[in-house]
Symmetry: C2
Subunit: 479 residues, 2 copies
């Protein structure tokens, strides 16, 4: 117990506890495979073990670490387990943890160039690197008319893109006078729920986000999009924003960006491309077909914090015309004015995002890219795609199961032929067993299991064991 109320942790104490925590994390990754992937606690279990009142006097670090082991750990779902096949992966890797640690250590606010020039310049630089690594059109580079910025998530990137589109469609007047026009936005019926949320937040309303029908691969149908736009124009509405998805959350469907982009160009509509998970695939030239037509987009995002071994939060958001973004979002009160901003020679990222404050998140991306190198990252992406393709082949070979959608990359949608109730029960039983964690979706109304492969430590043996477990469990359930 710390009895001196004035006590700050000293650098020497930090060295000791920091080393202990580094060891704890290393141990955790060595053992993570042994834990039940999905936490097995019940609602309220964690809180019931925590003292109702905060401590009046300070406590020792050892006591906290003990509670992490005894109370917190059982309540954690192990996203970093190699047997985590749910949702989409949330990348973490040791280099990214170290980059994030350094960011915490510096503790700077990168809201303006002036408040830490290295935070802004490293971010611009690393996002230019990433654009090159993915083969993005050059207009997205900071040396051209565009540029990249780190957002917390693809949700925030989509909202930011929608706000820029809203302003461009209304002559940048909505930001001042409020939304007075009947703007309409479009995305496929399979797009992420964050688009609906963005339409709500930006004041368009979810009814004015048109869910466009999809083809048999669950990809947006350009003819349906064109038809809906024409209908809306005829009704006096103003089409302002389209979001195409490269790799939908449900089934990893790849929207035809080129055909959608041609419509957007013709109709003067902002095209945002959401490649939150699958954008990382473009690191490999053989998967760049997924990004065909991207030169027609106004904005683009993908999440290194999903499939690129960079821990949350790190969404890479690009715009082709940074002036549109800045004109949509900038505000400059007196207390933020400074010489560098007024010179116009620098980027102030506060104008590229919704919040004002920001961490030095470029460090972790820099560490990840330098640790793996382009070839290392490509290696792991290829490996994950191969594992998923192997899994899809196994599903196809087993007559009890069926694939429910194409599996172009690292997500396999499948189900047992015994129907919705059976598949739901199968999922619950698998997850309760703790050996793996899967989640579901519905495709054409059918309850569908999703096998999502992208955790750094996932190897062939984990995928093989998962398939074995799925088959065994189905057999035990009597089918």
């Amino acid at each position: 117990m710390t009895t001196n109320a004035a006590h700050h942790m000293t650098p020497d104490e930090f060295r000791r506890y920091g080393r202990a925590l580094i060891d704890w994390i290393a141990d955790y990754y060595e053992q993570v495979e042994k834990y039940p992937v999905l936490s097995q606690v019940q609602p309220g279990d964690i809180r019931a073990q925590l003292p109702a009142e905060p401590p009046q006097q300070g406590e020792d670090f050892e006591a906290m670490l003990k509670d992490v082991n005894d109370i917190i750990l059982p309540g954690v779902t192990h996203w970093q387990s190699p047997n985590f096949f749910a949702y989409f992966p949330t990348g973490a890797s040791f280099p990214s943890i170290l980059g994030d640690l350094l960011s915490s250590g510096f503790g700077v606010q990168g809201m303006l160039w002036a408040t830490s020039p290295a935070a802004t310049e490293l971010e611009t630089h690393v996002l230019d690197w990433l654009a090159t690594m993915l083969g993005l059109p050059t207009k997205f580079l900071s040396s051209e008319t565009g540029g990249g910025v780190i957002q917390d998530s693809a949700s925030s990137a989509s909202l930011t893109a929608l706000l820029a589109a809203r302003e461009r469609a209304t002559g940048f007047a909505t930001r001042e006078r409020g939304l007075r026009s009947n703007l309409v936005a479009y995305t496929s019926s399979q797009a992420h729920s964050s688009l609906e949320k963005a339409a709500m937040i930006a004041g368009l309303g979810s009814k004015n986000l048109r869910p466009i029908e999809v083809d048999e691969t669950f990809a947006l149908r350009p003819d349906a999009l064109a038809r809906q736009i024409a209908e809306d124009r005829a009704a006096g509405l103003i089409p302002a924003f389209v979001c195409a998805t490269i790799g939908t959350t449900s089934s990893n469907a790849i929207d035809p960006v080129r055909e959608i982009g041609e419509i957007c160009q013709r109709e003067d509509i902002w095209l945002h491309v959401d490649a939150a998970m699958s954008g990382t695939a473009a690191l490999c030239p053989e998967f760049r077909w997924t990004h065909d037509g991207l030169e027609l987009a106004d904005s683009y995002c993908f999440n290194p914090h999903k499939w690129m071994f960079t821990n949350f939060d790190a969404d890479a958001f690009y715009v082709a015309d940074r002036a549109s973004l800045i004109n949509a979002l900038s505000v400059l009160p007196e207390y933020l004015k400074n010489q560098a901003t007024q010179s116009g020679a620098v980027i102030d990222y506060r104008d590229w995002q919704i919040p004002l404050g920001r961490r030095f998140r470029a460090l972790k991306l820099w560490f990840v890219i330098r640790h793996y190198g382009v070839e290392g990252l490509q290696h792991h992406i290829r490996r994950h795609v191969e594992l998923a393709q192997q899994f899809a082949a196994w599903v196809e070979e087993d007559e009890r199961f069926e694939l429910m959608a194409p599996a172009p990359l690292n997500l396999v949608c499948f189900r047992h032929k015994a129907g919705d109730a059976f598949n739901q029960a199968l999922l619950e039983r698998l997850n309760a067993g703790g050996e793996l964690y899967l989640t579901h979706t519905k495709l054409n109304g059918a309850y569908t299991l999703r096998m999502s492969i992208g955790q750094e430590q996932t190897e062939a043996r984990h995928v093989a064991r998962a398939w074995e477990k799925i088959r065994e469990t189905a057999t035990k359930m009597g089918e």
Copy 2:
């Protein structure tokens, strides 16, 4: 150079590099006082030292750490220096860095209770602790009708509050049909620019955020607010949202929350209270007068990442009626459905914020509160207020200088009597010297220096030396 493209950093390598980085951070804090507080680099200096192309092969961690020293460090503005008196503080402390490191290590997504129950339950618990520690009205507790959530920033908290207000004022119909009503919002002319940005984003438009005039202490005038509301109602507009500030960014003015709250109750307007920096003062009973009337508020936020030694990002946002917030923001696609959510027995924090994804940020708050204890935190807050009051007394004693606003807590607004140009030159000279870092504002049109005291390591000697330096520099400038 790592030649094997398949290479992940091993746990043993992580132990080695992690320890080196922990030591690096400990060294940094031991030496931070020696660095020029405001980075002295010019635009482009950092990027010019970085390779134009990303590495094809992986690199060693030692090479990265060397570049951190040689390239990044000179481009950092040292927010953690005890001589950082600019803006508001951005808290960091060793316990919070460790909590954040553990969060990075777990790498969980806390978007749903089910995706890591401990992340949600610890957050709810620690935010209840904080509400008690600050003496907030009990309606903000999760055990009552309200509850707290960690947002990235007060900007996002204000926007979230405005969205809930917008929905409540329109029968929760705007989220679906779009903004069709002439809603109006109110805040003082001294409020943070994030309110203007929130009004832009939510579609109200910045013109419909009324800047209400302030009294001689720069606090919002309730009579002026009441008058503006009446005018707007007479014009057929719908007053929907008021933001009162406890501790404005310019001068730390304290708006009269009780009188404002009475108006809001009478008029049925959502009252949000933004105490981003000064909320922490309520840890000490003697400073709770700043929060008088808070029981009349619908939402409240303060930033432990400012003055409570918790590194960015950690804004504590509370609502009195959590149903309003959830009804404004929830969306539930099939792939996020799960038993716990459908049981209604758990909190899913994705519905309490704009993005979907979220880090396990409660860990760092938990570590900070437990390390310091309530008494330790109170001790440091009192110390900072004392240092600021001492500084204000010195300003008053020196006939060359004058105070420009009341200094109720830890921010002192002052200037040299020689006029705007002199004060601007004085600020630039002080900051270029590197021994301290101050920023400015304008109060009643006058260029004003801000002395903001709240860094963990700031002691009496730093404040005394800053005052000496300010006086010396003014003398050298010939006055």
